[in-house]
Structure formats: structure tokens, C-alpha cells
Symmetry: D3
Subunit: 313 residues, 6 copies
């Protein structure tokens, strides 16, 4: 994929880009400048606009599409863009914000029908009804939200993409270990991070909501399962087990789960979540790394730099 | 207070006691015996009934009141009762189980009216209505349950007694630090452990319920607050803040709170809970310790032995 | 499966069993007795033989097959056998030790050909040759050893069974995440615990060897890979990567890996190992647990008791 | 309270301020400048004086009062002052350094008489005499020192203010838990941080002394209690208990207490210290935060940002 | 060395031994017995005296010398003595308690003169005078006390023996690293554990005193150094540095040092203490282990079992 | 020693120096500059060359010797050099790179013969032959490599210097504790870090090799010992013990040793390594510190600042 993140130091760019963030600063000597994060589908880059006027500040607000000419240079080990020309793109130019956002590599429709199919495969009607009820209630956001503000699946529809990958992985594992209840695995996967549609602010410029900070997606969804069961009139043990699956999916108290996994499927759900999240992080950093070299350090993987062997292809 | 825990090694007892637990064992040489935990209001003691018959096993089930004669001796550092005579007390003898249970030193009525008064003092109607709704919903159990199966306030009405003590402490602290919102402190205190009426099995022979083990009293009560708000039609920030107070009252993720305290009253609630729980534990072990000596080790206080100074008359 | 572990307290048994361990003791009052661990394919049970003579001590050495009559009773929460009659089985009685050993549920031949097939599927000749060389070198022991002295796969051929399950899981995961190099996964799985044939003493009455204690299976196999490469004249990066896969498969320094995973397949290998080991442990304890009840505490799973839901038919 | 910390970005100030710290720097391009921390009773702000001459360096030493005109701007998320005019204030202008120092909200006299009163209320003469002796010995510094260089009560007379608040809290708690020995609590509160008058350099521009770094206020005061007892001829257990109260008030070895609390009042003293220190930190950051927003991160509170609810009027 | 610890299971002994501890117990069936710990210079062994009378209890108090005949048998992995005959030794029999106590392998006189010599070699008069003052003040106890109640140097004169070994080690290290101030090392070694003469109860049947538990040998000696300096009229930095050496010798807060080492000699003192303590522990357990075997687990060495190679002839 | 690190802020230098590192940067306003690390035998300093041309970039590559005139100034607490004149030195000027590299204070020849002597003193022929074989195999690099990229002994021949110091320390300790096998200590010292000649890139501009990162010097040398034994036909327990010494010398799993020390000499080797590494670090920072002041913080010593007492001469 070509895009802003694929240019090398020293190259000149002439591109349409989306403003993701903008902050105003003042140089040591008192002159105003703007720090602008510009993005396209490939990722983002920081740029500086020196000697910025008040009009500039108004013109270059987040979610504005701009035409930019500039040079890529290196600043403290990361690429930065030195803007030579910049102007907002007029509404009639045929661009839409969605053209500049990184999204899941699978379409929303495809993901939606895949999840529907997995729910259809459930045999336990209580588990099936609660899962279907909740996915329906939050369907629109669920299909658009990222899975996190950073670290992994931090792109449009990242949450649904993470869930779909985990469902496929669950199916494979349940096939190999027949004692696993695939209904519980599927429901656990679909619900485990659904609270993020309340914890996070939305699909773009994603931040934590106040409820996200004070309650968290785990407790939010445990409550939602309780409410769903009440509304559907289900009073069976399945309700408590679904709540437990969500509650325990971070694996340990110190990682945010007030109870550790205490049923078989909860233990395995925690691993399925980990494998998929880590594969996503590894694939992203390794795709930007040449054979025989190391990735940048990955904070959410204990700050490790991974090595890319030379003998692949 | 006199009672079974107040006798010294070598003394002979002749008392009515309640059977708290009974388990059957077999000696090294294959003979059956019963291990019986006997209790009265002062606490409990382990006893052995050797050469126990099948009738004995039937006769000495938990919650049976018995007349016992025996000697106190020391077994591995703890007092044990060697039973010389034992017989069940006939129904007409005028004893009731309640006569043998340790209970809070304040009456249920007194505690109940004190809590009502604190709720009455709340000025924020949303906080007040949710608190009143939940205390009403669980009133009977709340006034009878212990606060835990062991460690602190592990006696009949221990939960309500813990709450009342914490309310008084909250009032004193709010008086000294006027920035504290006493409504939040009172509501936080009343609700923080209320989920224990679902987490625990009941006021006597208390164990954890399955829901207690898999979900826990914190998440149970966070859900209950959400339901109460729905039923009362309250959609204000107060709901989330009350949920946060309950959620965070263990202080840290590794102690079972998926979010740490993030508002002023949540931070202080955690300390109020600690001070009251620790004073209860300290008072119990120190009341059984002579000046110039150490208490037994207290597991929930990092296994410390506390010293009782000699100069407190 | 019927067997010694399937009897309930109070039942009388009349079975052929194998002596797994025997230790002599003395009662408080100075009389000798034997503590005998008896096993069959279902597991093992502790038994006491009171008033044991010197002949008894000689007759009931480990690896002796005996005919036993006795009663199951409960001693400190675990089943124990009270021996009423016991006698060694004469050589001509048609029993062999193997009849009493727990073994993998798949035959050695089947496992062996499955592993051969996975090696055959490898496309990188260096990886393939080293793996084949080492599996050949230790083939006999590899197919008979357990994977551990306790915790998981602690039965005859447990090591090979663990490897075969992990290979199938690797294949499924590599199918879902195409960036993974399946050669590395398969080789990593086959070699990761192969050092256990030197670390452990053998398929039965398994203990740690001195080399196992002082060097450990990880370093043993890292050395073996180096030697194999020397003997095969391979000096490519693949050697180092295979060593790294083995070295890092415990995931963290504090779990015994001097280097954390630093390539994609090493990270995933660690998870595959965990999922298979945990499923084995969970299946074993849950198979002995009734719906609606808890398993015994599992030391290697952070001492948790797992709950078995009631709605799995 | 108005003052330098109450201005917003973009505003112009024209104020008398005190220089708290001054350091000379050189720009990237080799030109000298001064970084000056200016303070008044409301707190402090960083300012830059560009193209500073040698005279400037001499004129703007710490503890100089200056008249400043300048603009507030934002530099990396914190307010900074861009100096437009600055001049030292002549001695005759009627300002004193004390006019610019943040101080406790209660007068020294009031705090002093309150502490005297608490000492007067002690009933145990040994505890009373040692406490009175030490407070007298260090009275002047005790009433002027801060309680720390940062984190909490880091202002003139902060130490005494912290002690007075803790005494009031002790009285309230001792009133609710009658088993507590209020003499020990009061003495523990008064002495617990008194070693800070040796550990710290003084009431302004506070740093750690060498003795503070190498021995620490806890051990310093334990020694002082020993000396005081010697001078007063007291050889009773009270001496050791007072030493223990000071020694253990950080609660755990890893927090700097070589012994954990081992008497009831030591355990509670640790909590009283925590509640008062945390309330001071919380009140300071929350007073600068609008309802519905978060405070800055507070390092000494595990780096948390606290939320200020919207419903407090 | 021959002695009670050198007998093997099955052997019969006929020895004079010292009673170290005695506790009375009751068998399951209610009969009294005595558990007696018997010792000689080689160590100790547990013995049981069944059917003990009241006279027995009086006759076999700690510190009584007895003549015992009995058999060594194994009880739960440790040797135990089954007493066949026992009688107290009459005063005139020519034994003294000291004949049965394990002591340092070097005489008190030799150790005393060695320490005197090291003090004599000090060149800094302040360090020398304080060290000499304190060693003189506690000379008698210092030369007789053990260095601990268990773990290392837990025998008569163990403290002095530990100090002398550390002095020799200090001299060797200071010879190799000339930047080290040997005066500080010697003084640090001599004073570091001197507080144990107050922390511990005495040379035999050693326990912790109340002051030992509540204050600890580190703080006790820091105070003593302060007092010594006062009495000698020394007000130089050396006093604080000596206090720091003692204060920091456990190396980290969590190991009981409220300040970590902050001068060069303090850092090295911590290592010298460790090397000598560990060599003492290792030598003791390895002396009881055959080549090719493992020692018992050593609690104070992270519960490790050490291996004794076979090639040390 | 005079040199670039010995100048004070404000002084002007006119020196020949070696370029250690060079990186190109761009100022905020887009102008290119070079950051150059210059070194001589005393250490290194950072310098800025403003308005750097493309020729400058080519001329001032690492390992170039330059003549520099400039001023020392302070930038964020560290000395920096402001270059006024700089020019490369022509080949004929009689300087060699070695003139500017910090090296061990003892000559390679002296270290080499000392190590030979220690090997000669070994009495166990197996230990001696393996050690001699390996030191011979890597002799050249062993005598030139540093012991680390930073922290301690990070200079030319630092590895051999560290080993020689440790050998002398081992000899002294083995002299005091005669149970120690000096052969094992000497061999352990010589081999413990020898894998660094593969782990690190070389004597100057030292970085980690890929094998260093993925396998590490410990596992590298364990393998080498195995190979050496194979080549020498040694199959005795000594091989395993030497491997264990290397494997365990970091002391704990979390510090990189997959097995903790399990023989006496392994435990002591860990301490000898620590004492020598820490003395090297302490001596370096304290040599740059004035009496009565603190060193810079030392990252590898838990980020402590050490105090230099005033009374050493």
C-alpha cells in the first residue's frame, strides 16, 4: 500500500491528506506555530507549520482535508514533514473523510454476515438470544469502532475485525478440543469488548469517555448482559456465565479482571484474545521492517523490538 | 464476656453449645471419629469425639444444640476440647440457635434507624433515592449477614455493623475536610459491600455462592445500581459516580477493583473501609491478649503479630 | 473409563493394581507401617498397610503388581484405601506393568507417523533437516516420555501427545494468520520440549536428572540444535532462529527463558504451548467434577478451582 | 485567591513576584538566557529572559523581589511567562519575602497553641514529657518547615499544618474507637515527621540535607526520642513504643519503615497520615479543575488523573 | 565431628545430651507425652517420650543434661529419636551445659584479639574511637551471642565469628580495590550486627526480644552510634557515615534498610555480609551431603537444594 | 588524567579528538546541523556543528581524528562543546585511533599472562583443558572486547580487565573459605562472560549482534563449553558443572539465568562478578565527584546518586 508512511527521508511529497490533530505552540523565541498530524489510509505523520497566523489556526482544524507539498526529514528518530505549501481542499473537490481513514481489510457487510452466521450456529437458545440482542442493540457502533485507541486494531471497524478473527480462531480451537463449548466461546468473543462502544468516543480521533475511564468496558458489558437477560426474561445460569466470560477475559486482577477465569472457556477466551491482538501488532510492525532488521519497540509487547529473519522468501 | 473461648488449658467445662461444623474422620488405625466445631457467642472451639458410632454422626449435625462436659487442652498451639460427655438438647429445653451466635454489639433496630437517619441527611435526591431503593430491596439480609466469611466482621449482622461504624467515621472525616461530599461518602459506605448479600450464602455457616465466586460482590452491586437507576428513571452522572465508588473501593486492580479510585470520595472511602476493618480485627485479637504479650498472627494484616503494651493500665 | 480413581467413599474394591511408590513409616506409638501408592490406567490412590513386617517391606516394592481388597475412605479431603487383603501377583498371572500405566489416548505409531508427516510438509530444507535429525536421535525416548513430572501430560507418551496436539493447533493458527512461517512453528513445537528426554529420568516414576536440574531442558536442546547443525554442516540463520524458538518458549525470563520471544513465531509458539497445556490440565480435573461443582485447586493454574456449568447437558 | 497561577493563556500580567529559582542556559545558537521561576502566594510559574547579560544574571538571583510585565503562553501543556519587562524592586518599596510565599492557611500562633493543647490533654506523663521536650527543642523550625519538598504540604509551615490536621483527625477517630490510646496517637502524630526539620534544608527553596539523604527523617527522630528519654531519665516501655510509632509510620519496609506497625496505634497512625496527605493533594489539584474535567496527573497518587463530578453545584 | 546428628536411621544411641526445648502434648487418644529437643555440639534431634507422667514433665525441663538410650528412626523425612531409657544426670557427674552447645570453631580469646587488632589498624581516630567504645560497651555479649536465631551463624559466638570472617574478607577486598576506605569497612563490619545483642535474647534458646521485634538491630545500633558520639564529643561527618553503614547494610528497603547504600563502602559491606553468611549456610548443609547428592532445601537461600559435585575427591 | 572530560564550563579547549558518533539533524527552522560525539582516553563529550554543509557531513564521519577549538558550556545539566573551529587531521600528523580510545589500565600482555598463570594453577585436568581450549579459541577478541556496551567495563579490553580483577578476588576469597574449589571459581570467572565476544560487535562503537540479542552470551558460552568438551573428548561431570557456572552466573531467572546457582562456587561466582562490576562503576563516577558532593545517578545501580564523604584526606 502506498501512502504517507511509505516515503523515505529526503523525499518530497505532494498529496491530499486529512488533518487528524492540530495543536498550537510557541517557539522559544515567542513565535506561534502549528503542530499538525496528517493522515491517510497508510497511517499518519507529524508536520510543523512555522509562523502560523490566526487564519491558519482556523483553517487547519481536525477533520479538514488539505493539499500539502513538503519534504520528509528525520526528527529524533521519526519521520516528520516540513510543510512547504498547504491549502484546504474545497468541498467540490470530490474527496470524503472516509478516503483518508485506515479501516479493517474486510468490509463491514462481510464482517456483519460472518458474525450473524456464528450466532446462528449457537445451539443454546439462552446464549444465542442474549448475544443477538446485544449485538443488535449496538450494531452500528460495533461495526465502526476501533478496538482500542492505540496498541492493536486501532482503526475504523477494528473492533469488529478483531471479533471476526477471534471467531475463526475459536472455531479452529473448538474443533481440536471437543470439550470446549463453542457457544460460550463464540458468545464470549462477540461480547468481550462490546463495551468499548461506550468506553470509547467513536471511530475517529478516538479517546476514552468519562464512563470509559470510571467504569470501563468490562463492567459496562457485564451490566448490559444483566439488563439484556432481564428484558428477555432469562434467569438461567447462562447469564452469570456470560457475565463471567466478559469479566474475566483480561485474565488477572492486575490486568483489569476483578475475577480470574474460573470456567474452561473463560481461560481459553483469554488466550484467543491475546493471540489475535498480538498477531495484529506483530503484523503491523513487521510489515514496515526489512528482513535482517528489527521493528521499532512495541510498547504493548513489553517494549520488545522483534527481529525479521532473512530466510523468508 | 464469658464463654467457650475464655477457658484456659486444664479447665473443665460443662456448657450448652451449638454445633457449627462436623466432619467425620478415621484414625490412623482405622477407627471413626468426629471433629466438631462448637460455638457460643464468645467464639468457637474444636472438639474430638473418639470411637464415634453412626448414630453419633446423625445426632451431631451442624446447627444442633448440645450439652457438653469436657477438658480444655492444647493441641498444636490452639485450645481444643476433649469431650467427656455430650448429648443433644431436647427441643423443649428453651434454647434457640440465636443464643449461641456471635452478633454485632448493637441491635438490628438501632443500626437500621441509624442508617435511615444517614440516608435522610443526604441532600442530593438522586443519590438518596438510589441508596434508599437498594437498602430497602435487600434490607432483611443486609441487617443479618456478616461482612465476610472470615478476617473481619465475620458474625451475624457484621455487615450492617461495619456500615454503621463506617458511616460515623465518614461523618467525622467529612466534618474535618469540608471539600468532601458527604452524600457520596454515605452512599458509598452503604452500598460498597451490599453485594455481599448475594456473594455470601447467609448469616450462619457462611460460604461463597457460585455467583459470589464467579462475579463477586463488587460487580454484583455495580449492576444493581444500574438496575435501580433504570427503575427509578434516573439518568444523571450520579449513577455512574455511585457505580464508580463501589467499583473502586478495593483501591487497586490487584485487590479486586477493576478501576482505581478516580474521584476524591472514592479515594477516601477506600481508607474508611480499611480503618474500620482493621480496627475490628485488631480489637478482636488484642482483646484475647495480655499486656506485654503478642497476639496470634493475623493473616489479613500481612500475618503480623501485634504487641500489647504494658502501660495501658 | 473405570479404574481405581472412579470409586466413591464407602465402596469396597477388589482389583489388580501396580505399586507406584512405597515408603515405610512408624506410628506415634512406634509401630511400623507402609504407605503404598497404587495405580492403574485411571490414576492412583494412597493406601496404608498397618503392622507391616520386614517381609511386607520386601514384597511390596515399586513396580510390583498386586491383588488388593480394601475399602475407600476419606482422609483429609482425599480418597484413601484401607487395605484388607493384599498379595503380590505371581509372574504367570498374565499381567504386565504396561497394563497399569496411564498413557496417551493415541498410539505411539499414530503419533510417530503424524510427526513424520508434519516434518515432511516443511519447505525450508535447513529447518527440516535439523528437526528430522534430532527427532531421529531421540525418537524412542521422545515417544515414551511424559511431558512433565506433574501438572500436565504427566503420563506415558505425554510428551509426544503434547507435541502432536500442538502441531494440529499450529496448523490451524497458521491457516488463519498467513504471515506465520509454518516451518518455524512446526519445528519449534517438535523441538521445544525435546530436551525433556534428558531433563527427566524416564517414562515411569519420573524425576529430574542432575543435568535436568542444573542445565534444564531449554539449554540442553539449544546445545543439541547447535551440535546437529555442526554435524549436518548447516551454518545458516535458521540454526540461530531454531535455538531462539526453544530458548524463548517459556515467554519471560522469570519463567525460565533467558530471552523473551523476539520473532513472530516464537511469540505464538509460547501461546500454543500454553493453550495445549492448560486444556490438558482443565480436561483432567473437569472430567472428575460434576456439573454445578468446582474442581480441586489446580496448582499450575494459579491454584484456581474451576466451576463446571450445569447447562452442558 | 488571585495570583500568578490564576491567569489564563493570552492574558498579560503586571505584578510583583519573588524569584524562587534561576538557572542560566544557552540557546541552540549559542545565546545566553535565564530560566526564572517566579512565585507568589498562589504558586509559581516558569519564565524565560532571552538575551540575558551578565548584569541580568547578577540582578535576578533567587529570593529577589521583582516587578514583571509579560504574557502568559502555553509551553508543552503548562503555562509559561514571556517576560516583556522586569526590574528588581528597591528595598524601600515596602515588600518582604514573606509576602510571596505560600503558607499554611492557619497562623503559626493558632497551630502552636493547638499543639500545646493536645500535649496538655495527654494523661501518660512519660509520653507527654518526651513529646513536649522534643517539640520545644525544635519548635521554631517545626512551625516554619514544609512537610516535604513536593507532593503534599510543600509550603511554609506545611509540616505544622499537616500535624494539626492529623491531630484533629486522631481525636475524631479515637472518639469512635475507644480502644485506641489517644496519648499514643497524639504523640505519634506530633513526632512522626519532626525529623524533617533535620532532613530538609529549610522553609524555602527546600532540598534534602546530606543527613536527610543518608539517614532519613525516620531514623533521625528515632534517635532523638532515645536522646530525649536519656536526658529526661525515662526508661519505661513508652520510649520504645514512641520510637516504634515513628519507625513504622510508613507502613511497610518498601515504603521506608524498617518495621511494619506492630501496635494498634501504629497501624492507625499510618492511615491518619495517609488520609491527611491525600486530602491535601486532592484538594490542591481539584481546586484548579473545572467540574466535568480531570485534574493533571498526580505522581504521588500513582499518577492518576482525578475526575471532578458535575453535580457538586 | 561425631555427635547426635551423625547417626543413621536404625542405629541405637547411648549418649549424654542437653534438653534444648520441651513441650507437652496429648495423643489423639488423650494420653500425655513429651516432645523433647535434645542437642549436643553437632546439632539437635527431636525425641518423643510416650506416656509421660507429671514427674517426667518436671524432670525434663530445658537446659537439663540427660543420659539417653534410644533408636533413630525416620519420621516425615527427618531423623527422630525413639527414647527407650532416659534419666537426668546428677550434678556431680562432671558435665556442664557448655559441653553440649555448638560454638564457633575459633576461641573467644582469638576472636577478641583479632578484632582488637583490626580496630588498632584504623587510621581515622573518630571512626576508631566510636568503634572501640561500642565494642567495649557490649563486649561480653558480642563475644557470646549467635548472629541469628536460625539461617546462619546460629550458634554460641556466631556473631563474633561472622564479624571476624567478614573482617578478613574486608581486608582482602580492600587490598584489591585501593579506593576503598578500610577504616569504614572494618568499622561497618564490627558494628553492622552489634545491635543483635539487644535484638536477641541471649546465646542459648535464642528468641527475639520485644525491642528486637519493634525496633530491630539496625535502628538500635544507629541510636547507639549517636549516643557514643555524644559521649565522646565527636560531631564530625564520620558519625553520620557510620550510622549510614549500619542503616543500609541490608541493601534495600524491602530487606529492612530504610536507606539503600549511598557510599562506596556501604555498597561493598552489603556484599561482604552476604558472601560470609551464604558461605556459612552452604558449608553447613554441604558438610552433611554426600558427593553426587543434593542438600536439604535452604530456606534463606530461596529454598534451593544445592548439588555436591562428584569430582571433589 | 587530563582530557576532554576534565574541562569545566566556561573553559576553551584546543585539542585533537576522535569522532565516536555523528548524526545529522535539522533545527526547528529547517537548517541542517551535525551532532558529533568526540572522545579521547578520558571519555567523551557531545558537540554541535551548526549550519553544516554536505561536505561537513562527509568530512566528519565516525573514526575520524579532528583538531577542534571550542567552548565548554552546560546544556540540560551536562557539559556540551560549542565548536568554533574544526578540521580533519591529515594522515601524516602522527595520530592513530588507539590514541583516543579509553582502555583498561593494565596492558594486554600483562592480562594475558596473568590469565595463563591462573589456568596453570588449576589442578583438575578436565576443567583446565576446557578453559584453555576456549580462551585460546577466542583469545584475540577476548583481550580487546569491552565487557559491555555501557554500565561497567565499557572500554577497550574491559572484558579481560574485568576477568583479571575477578580472578584476583576469587583467589583471595578461596584463600579465606577453603571449602571453595578454586579450579571451578577460576574457570567460572574466565568463561562467564566469554560469550560476549559473540554477543557484542567489537571493541569500538560496540553494539549487540543479532545472535547476541536472540541467544545471549550465556547460552552462547554454554554451547561452546559443550562443543569444546566434545572436541576434547571429555565426558565427565565437570562439563555440566562448567556449563552450570556460566548458566547461573546472573543469579536469578529474572536477571537472565535460566537456572539459579545450585553449587557452592556458582553462588559465590555471582557475588564476585557483582562486587567487581560495582566497584568499577563506583570508581568511575566517584572519580569525577568532589568530596561532600554526590555522583550523577547511576542507572545500573538502581539509579542511585552516591555521596563522597569529606574526611578522605
Amino acid at each position: 500500500m502506498s501512502g504517507i508512511t511509505t516515503y523515505a527521508v529526503g523525499e518530497t511529497i505532494d498529496l491530499h491528506l486529512l488533518i487528524k490533530q492540530m495543536t498550537k505552540g510557541t517557539t522559544n523565541t515567542g513565535k506561534p506555530f502549528l503542530t499538525i498530524i496528517l493522515q491517510d489510509k497508510s497511517g499518519d505523520i507529524e508536520a510543523k507549520l512555522w509562523d502560523a497566523s490566526d487564519q491558519d489556526e482556523k483553517a487547519y482544524q481536525p477533520e479538514t482535508i488539505v493539499k500539502v507539498v513538503g519534504d520528509i526529514h528525520n526528527y529524533r528518530g521519526k519521520n516528520q514533514l516540513k510543510i512547504k505549501q498547504i491549502r484546504p481542499v474545497s468541498p467540490g473537490d470530490g474527496f470524503s473523510i472516509a478516503d483518508f481513514l485506515e479501516t479493517a481489510p474486510v468490509s463491514i457487510d462481510e464482517m456483519s454476515s460472518k458474525i450473524t452466521q456464528y450466532i446462528f450456529e449457537m445451539r443454546n437458545p439462552n446464549i444465542q438470544r442474549i448475544t443477538r440482542h446485544l449485538i443488535k442493540k449496538y450494531q452500528k457502533d460495533f461495526l465502526e469502532y476501533p478496538a482500542a485507541t492505540k496498541n492493536h486494531h486501532e482503526f475504523v471497524s477494528g473492533l469488529a475485525y478483531h471479533v471476526v478473527s477471534m471467531l475463526d480462531l475459536s472455531k479452529a480451537i473448538a474443533g481440536l478440543y471437543p470439550t470446549l463449548d463453542s457457544d460460550l466461546l463464540y458468545a464470549g468473543v462477540i461480547l468481550h469488548d462490546l463495551g468499548k462502544v461506550i468506553e470509547l468516543s467513536g471511530p475517529t480521533s478516538t479517546t476514552y469517555t468519562i464512563e470509559g475511564n470510571l467504569i470501563g468496558h468490562i463492567s459496562i458489558m457485564v451490566n448490559e448482559i444483566g439488563k439484556a437477560a432481564d428484558e428477555l426474561g432469562i434467569e438461567r445460569e447462562e447469564v452469570m456465565i456470560l457475565q463471567h466470560l466478559v469479566l474475566s477475559h483480561h485474565g488477572k486482577a492486575e490486568w483489569g479482571s476483578p475475577k480470574p477465569p474460573l470456567i474452561r472457556e473463560a481461560e481459553i477466551l483469554h488466550y484467543i484474545d491475546n493471540v489475535d491482538a498480538k498477531m495484529n501488532m506483530l503484523d503491523r510492525v513487521l510489515s514496515r521492517t526489512k528482513p535482517g532488521e528489527y521493528t521499532e519497540r512495541v510498547f504493548a509487547l513489553d517494549n520488545r523490538s522483534f527481529y525479521k529473519p532473512t530466510f523468508h522468501e
